[in-house]
Amino acid sequence: MSGFATQFKTDATRLTRDLKHRTLIQTAMGKYNVVRKKSAGEFQDWQSARRAASGIKWDAVNHLDTHLEQLTAKLEARGTKVHWASTGVQARKIILDIIAEKKARSIIKSKAMTAEEIHLNEAMEKAGYEVVESDLGEFIVQLRKEPPYHIVFPAMHLSRDDISELFTKELGSAPTREPEELTMIARRVLRSKYITADVGITGANFAIAETGMISITENEGNARLTAALPKTMITLVGIEKVLPHMADLALFLPMLATAGTGQALTCYNSMYGGPRQPGECDGPEEWHVVLLDNHRTELLADAEQRDALHCIRCGACLNACPIYKNVGGHTYGTTYQGPIGSVITPHLRGLQNWKHLSFASSLCGACTETCPVKIDLHHHLLQNRRNAAAEKPVWWEKIAFKGFAFVANRRWTWRWGIRVGSWLQPLHPLVKGTVLDPMRPWTKTREFPPLAKETFKDYWKKRNDRA
């Protein structure tokens, strides 16, 4: 078992028993479910909207080369500098070089999961720059020196008291139980940062090939400020983010809002088509767009799971997942958590180290059903299990399955097995949950149902004999 798998098991065991954690997550998810249902219900046909969205994404991803070239040409035509990075290391270097060239000191950042993926903040801090996360949830987890708990709600696991205590300790503010006051404390701290920052870094929700635009969706206005005030703007984009046409956003913006937060539309949906243009009064003098591969082309090469690149990072599959709701976001130990994280992490970071995530699923299919772009998530988890076993078979599993096949394929062994099982079962409580228990991992937290005294076959035979 990889160290990551051990860590997953330890954390999962701890968190499923943490009642405070449970209450926080259940409350947040409960609120989300109500508004999401309402918003999806406002659509004239949500299911057809999903089909249309998955069709558009299919086109985008399956003609990725053409779209990327068009996107680049359009961006460059209006003065944007486009950079290409095959790896996280390259992307970090590109960004650090820009910052160094600008002799920047302070950097303001709006939420970007791609930046989490390549550990950009750590790299910038190590190089001696002051980096401030401006999204409230990200700001909170940054102060706690923690990764985001959820791709859309980074501080979902914290109560207002936790946050008040954190602000008192880190910012010297007076304790309060009012979310409004806590938000205003962060607003005051961050306002001065926007104005003094030399460089603004953002992520992207969509990249429009047709017009050469980056679309950013947010509620707080922090990304808008990040893209308005600093002299240099850097946008880090995964190559799979392209959409062919600007008008596609008419579908994707309301769907992202509905699936992501249950809103009809997120507060600010902004499209950026260049640095400050002639005749404009503000905006960055320079805009750098960094296109990031970082193993996405490997996932692209897997035709069976290529649709995982359709993901719009709405987080709906996390919210629907019974495993996520029990073990929590940090347990995954990944940038992307929940079902989509379990599917793509083995591709991004190595199948053998992360194959345990394929088993962090009840295979209920709630993720596939909720996904706005219809990614076949739970089947991809099965495919990852299959691929992991084919790539590196586990000897005892092979023997165990051979044994099972031997018993199950023969009438006499099967009947004999069941009979012996029912004789032995009354003895099971003597060893249940101890090291002597052969089924310990399973029975530690579950009850095994009693085997029937009489098999159906016996019953049927007796019944016919009576007749």
Binding site: D45, D65, F153, L229, P254
Partner: protein, 225 residues
């Protein structure tokens, strides 16, 4: 080879192996969804102007924006004066435009114009940012602004109150209509910033409790005549 060539080569190599069409795992998947106009799936908007205006108002108010339909520019000025007194604005910020020129001049406040550049600190300390817009969208209660129509990128997000001055002819039915308008109006020379503003700035990051004015304006007022 450059990284650009490397990445594009990997993409092309990967795509040589075709992926199943969407719906391959789902028999209920009808392909007709792809051929229909997007507006068919989106939330309904009424057919008449009155219905759409009512929808815009209820959507905007549901988002805690304030919407007033006024008779004429004069009433717009009066409304704005009332808010100025209630909130005690000391300074206003706006941009040149037909409506903003007519209205902002009558506020009787020191006023910053963003058009020819501005001091960020003074803009930040202005009580209000007054802008025009490209359109109002009934379907979502959104205001469509661009750096061209609304005085740049910061004017509509930095001051604590954003007031939008609009004409009722600017009301559009839905999002697909808004993108059509953008293409028609700007051709290929789009302003570098386009945004759908849907209610005042908000966050739910603390226990999913709604707080207005996370980083942008705490208040959004739309005056329309």
């Amino acid at each position: 080879m450059t990284e650009r060539e490397n990445i594009l080569a990997r993409v092309r190599e990967a795509l040589r192996n075709p992926a199943p069409r969407p719906g391959a795992h789902d028999e209920s998947h009808a392909t007709e969804a792809l051929e229909q106009p997007i507006s068919r799936w989106l939330p309904k908007v009424g057919n008449s102007f009155e219905e759409r205006l009512a929808l815009f108002k209820s959507n905007a108010e549901g988002l805690k924006a304030v919407f007033h339909m006024v008779k004429d520019q004069e009433e717009m000025v009066a409304r704005l004066g009332t808010i100025r007194d209630a909130e005690g604005w000391k300074r206003a910020a706006t941009h040149k435009g037909q409506l903003t020129d007519a209205v902002a001049a009558k506020l009787g406040l020191p006023t910053i114009l963003t058009d020819a550049g501005y001091d960020v600190n003074s803009l930040e300390q202005s009580g209000v940012g007054i802008t025009e817009c490209d359109a109002l969208i009934a379907q979502t209660g959104s205001v469509l602004v661009t750096s061209k129509s609304a005085g740049g990128r910061a004017l509509s997000v930095l001051p604590p109150h954003h007031v939008v001055l609009a004409r009722k002819e600017q009301l559009l039915a839905d999002l697909p209509g808004a993108f059509e308008l953008l293409t028609k109006r700007y051709g290929t020379s789009y302003p570098s910033f386009i945004s759908f503003i849907t209610g005042p700035s908000r966050t739910g990051d603390i226990e999913r409790i709604l707080v207005l004015g996370a980083h942008g304006p705490k208040k959004l007022t739309i005056l329309c005549f």
